[in-house]
């Protein structure tokens, strides 16, 4: 058994639990130093994740943010499996932001691929320490011991001890090298692959105060913050005296904010923006919110004050007529192909709107600044990054900032941006009291990091045999020079790159004064719609069945990958396409007039998804999605089948909602303000959704995001087959379509 370097700089400590038991407790002096370095550098320590009480109850730490993906269970399930305990004996606690847990990054469907190995290793290392403790107690070799259901057994002498009995001794055993611990064979899994219900479900269903918005701190005041409605605007003056005179109002003041690092900054890791506005702090949220109704602010809106979505669309059209500014990828010679007269050429412009996240729980953050220390309660998808940035803003060392990462009422990427932490911390420091900042829904819709809009001018060609031989995409997006707006660019090796010999993606950009960011399946949630719709157009032009046309494309020998380039594994995609075709009865069912099926696939976030939608469109262009079939390959294991199914279903419903959503700008400000103008699917519109997983011999990966992208094109492709009309502008309401 090897000791890690970390272990030599650490000391073990047995800590009494409130219930009188003992827990594995290892505290590291290195914590401070580690906090200053990249989180990845710290080897994980089992006792940071596992504590075992004398009664055998095993408390596991959930390191990632729970925003509805059930990762609160997923990661502890991995630990529990290798620790070899029964799930019924497991309790889960939430981790504060702390680099000892490794990266607490919640995004990119990365929890499973990032933690599949390390969390199992943590569990296996804990098990090894418990075995070592038992072996030492009995004076036998550890190799003679086995474990099951929270007990160590020595079969030869028919002795056994429970983990609870061994915990305090196990805490004194050397910590094994995590990379060297032996992991279970998957055939022996008892927890991985079973459906476990989120450990907070009962609290959710009985209305316990577990969300960020429910946080209560003694002496807490409530804040609203009127941010500048235009990016970069400044509050010049306001009727603060009148506001302060209102009932319940304790403070009202202008927040100067600070300029963004650049117009197209990375809001995730560089600077979420600390914007100017007016804060009102009162003894109740309603008093603060009511006072805001009387607030009169004189703004200086600066350079973005005249921005307008209609003008932006005109600029995009103009740019599409010009030579693209940049070439993102070029294979073969598209131009020569397009000059041939023995081919069919299709030209289609696609319009992608900005859309908002609209998490059900409006953004909020509670902050308590006192005597140079800061305590924060927030649901953040990247709490460690938030702590760093708030430390920079208030000039506080990270060790003096505690971030309690509470349950979030939805995230979808919005809570990856830590702007509320900055605002709440600033307000708390200014007023010298704990403050809960709650945004109204209007604040939430109008101050988001929006899914970036854009325009794609597509041109493609099929030859006489119906083969796709040329693909051209002029992507007109937002940005400046070589910089795209944050998460508003284009992935140049997106399929069908490499599978079409003559392929090019070019781009042009125009300025944007609006924060943009990651929305569930960033990039993919818009590009899959364009690409899979356009492939469908080409399939119809070729006179081919849309499934067969896609399979033909995927069986084309691809161009080799460039150095460090990643690409999809065509065989895995073919697998899910065939599966979804089979399950949906593709091309085998007679459908009535006005009813049709559409297919689409997309590879993103390491996941392979193919989806079929069956829709009925009536004469008034009202769409009923009758049914959706999802086929997925996310590797060898579905860690929690119930969660996996519901994540995929939710992604489909989320994707359908995106077909009716749009954020637009007038005079630099967002027009839409609440759910009535940025709607989402309602229950009567939600179709049955069948989800099928194709298990393949690949490491398990995530699915919250990759399940979403194919649904939009699948539905649009079905609408085309049903009506002959192709949806090329989202939201589809622009073309007169809506959900029945």
């Amino acid at each position: 058994m090897k000791k890690t370097n970390l272990n030599r700089r650490s000391f073990l400590q047995v800590t009494a639990l409130a219930g009188g038991g003992l827990m594995l407790g290892l505290y590291t002096k290195a914590g401070t130093a580690l906090a200053q370095g990249p989180p990845r550098m710290a080897p994980l320590v089992p006792s940071d994740f596992i504590s075992i009480a004398s009664n055998g109850i095993v408390t596991l730490t959930a390191k990632n943010s729970e925003i509805g993906q059930n990762v609160f269970n997923t990661l502890p399930m991995l630990i529990a499996e290798e620790l070899d305990v029964d799930w019924k004996d497991v309790k889960i606690v939430r981790a504060d932001a702390d680099n000892k847990y490794g990266p607490q990054f919640t995004g990119g469907s990365s929890a499973t691929p990032m933690n599949w190995e390390p969390m199992r290793q943590v569990g296996a290392a804990g098990r090894q320490m418990l075995i070592a403790a038992a072996a030492q107690t009995w004076g036998v070799a550890p190799e003679e011991c086995s474990t099951a259901s929270g007990r160590v057994h020595h079969k030869a002498s028919n002795r056994s001890l429970s983990y609870g009995e061994l915990a305090s001794k196990a805490a004194t055993m050397p910590v094994p090298d995590l990379r060297a611990v032996k992991l279970k064979d998957s055939k022996d899994y008892k927890i991985i692959g079973t459906s476990t219900i989120n450990a907070e479900t009962r609290d959710i269903l009985t209305g316990k105060p577990i969300f960020g918005i429910d946080v209560k701190v003694p002496g807490m005041l409530y804040a609203v913050f009127q941010r500048t409605p235009v990016l970069g605007g400044k509050a010049v003056s306001a009727n603060l005296d009148a506001i302060k005179a209102l009932k319940g109002v304790k403070h009202a003041f202008i927040v100067e904010g600070r300029p963004l690092r650049s117009d197209y900054t990375n809001y995730l890791f560089e600077d979420p923006g600390f914007e100017s506005g007016v804060a009102i702090v009162a003894d109740s949220w309603w008093a603060a919110r009511s006072a805001r109704e009387r607030l009169e602010v004189k703004w200086d809106f600066g350079k973005w004050g005249a921005q307008d979505s209609v003008e932006n669309a005109k600029k995009a059209q103009a740019l599409s007529q010009q030579s693209p500014a940049r070439t993102l990828r070029q294979d073969g010679d598209v131009d020569t192909i397009f000059k041939r007269d023995d081919i069919k050429v299709i030209k289609s412009p696609y319009v992608i709107p900005f859309i908002a996240h609209g998490t059900m729980e409006p953004q909020n953050c509670t902050a308590h600044y006192k005597d140079g220390k800061l305590e924060i309660w927030v649901a953040s998808q990247i709490p460690q990054s938030g702590r760093t940035m708030v430390g920079q803003l208030l000039n506080l060392p990270e060790k003096d900032i505690t971030v309690h990462n509470v349950r979030g009422g939805g995230g979808f990427g919005r809570r990856a941006y830590n702007d509320l932490m900055l605002d709440a911390a600033w307000i708390s420091k200014t007023v010298g009291a704990p403050v809960k900042l709650i945004w109204s829904r209007e604040d939430d819709i109008q101050h988001d990091y929006y899914r970036c809009g854009g325009f794609q001018f597509m041109k493609g060609a099929v030859d006489k045999e119906g083969k796709l031989i040329a693909w051209h995409d002029h992507f007109v997006g937002y940005g400046e020079g070589n910089a795209f707006a944050h998460d508003g660019g284009f992935i140049p090796n997106e399929f069908p790159a490499r599978y079409v010999a003559n392929y090019q993606v070019k781009s042009s950009v125009m300025p944007l004064g609006l924060k943009t960011g990651a929305l569930r399946a960033p990039y993919s949630n818009s590009t899959a719609w364009v690409i899979q719709s356009f492939i469908d157009e080409l399939a119809h032009a070729a006179g081919k069945d849309p499934v067969q046309f896609r399979l033909d494309l995927l069986t084309t020998t691809p161009l080799p990958l460039a150095a460090r380039e990643a690409g999809l594994d065509a065989s895995r995609m073919i697998g899910v396409i065939k599966l979804v075709a089979e399950k949906s009865g593709w091309a085998k069912r007679q459908l009535p007039k006005g009813t049709a099926m559409g297919v689409a696939f997309h590879f993103s976030h390491r996941g392979y998804f193919a989806e079929v939608a069956e829709v009925t469109v009536n004469a008034n262009k009202k769409i009923k999605v009758n049914k959706v079939w999802v086929a997925a390959d996310i590797g060898s294991q579905i860690i929690n089948p119930s969660s996996a199914e519901t994540q995929a279903q939710g992604a489909v419903i989320d994707g359908l909602s995106e077909m009716i959503q749009e954020i637009t700008l007038e005079k630099g400000a967002v027009v839409q303000s609440n759910y009535h103008q940025h709607p989402m699917l309602r229950m009567s519109q939600a179709p049955p959704i069948e989800v099928h997983f194709l298990k393949t011999n690949n490491p398990p990966t995530g699915l919250g995001e990759p399940a979403l992208p194919p649904i939009l094109p699948a539905v649009c492709n079905a609408i085309f087959t049903a009506t002959g009309e192709r949806i090329r502008t989202m939201p589809m309401t622009k073309q007169g379509f809506s959900f029945a």
Partner: protein, 182 residues
């Protein structure tokens, strides 16, 4: 001074009569189960029962519920575990969970009026409750499940009655809902 009954308990409120019931519940009475979603009654996260009727607390001024009986998620059963909640758990409905209190309140109101609802009746009753995670399919299934668990004849609100000693019986037998007004 506004008098109201919340989960069977008399309460008095002497603040701003325009304050929505939602904020009285959450911040004055510390009943955090009722959620703020939109502030304009379009998402249903704040659904409570007022005299048995599903009501959006976010835009109902507290003055409008004077001398009325309000039931929140915290008060829908005597033992804290209603058949609808049990069905929700069994079918693993919740994802983020934020809208689910409102969903459950709407579902409970539906089941009082319509003990064995069809899909269409469920859709109609639940269409005012948004779920951003898209748990609609399981909500629909859970309502059917709860309908199986709940005897057709539902009892009066638990909040006004002494709690049943037997947790299991209480959960299964007496659906503790406010009766519909009619």
């Amino acid at each position: 001074m506004i008098n109201l009954k919340v989960n069977g308990k008399n309460q008095q409120f002497d603040g701003d009569p325009e304050m929505p019931l939602l904020w009285v519940l959450r911040d004055e009475l510390d009943l955090k189960g009722t959620k703020f979603g939109c502030g304009m009654g379009v998402c249903g996260a704040c659904t409570v029962h007022v005299n048995g009727q599903p009501t959006r607390a976010c835009f109902t001024p507290v003055s409008a519920v004077a001398n009325k009986s309000v039931t929140t998620i915290e008060g829908i059963s005597p033992d804290g575990w209603h058949p609808v909640q049990a069905a929700w758990q069994e079918l693993d409905v919740a994802q983020c969970g934020y809208c689910q209190a409102g969903q459950i309140m709407s579902a409970c109101a539906l089941l009082v009026k319509t003990p064995k609802p069809t899909d269409a009746e469920i859709d109609t009753a639940m269409n005012g409750n948004l779920c951003r995670c898209g748990t609609y399919l399981r909500i629909r299934a859970a309502i059917h499940k709860a309908a199986e668990m709940t005897p057709a004849k539902t009892a009066n609100t638990s909040a006004n009655k002494p709690a049943n000693k037997s947790a299991n019986n209480a959960t299964r037998a007496g659906a503790p809902l406010l009766p519909s007004k009619k």
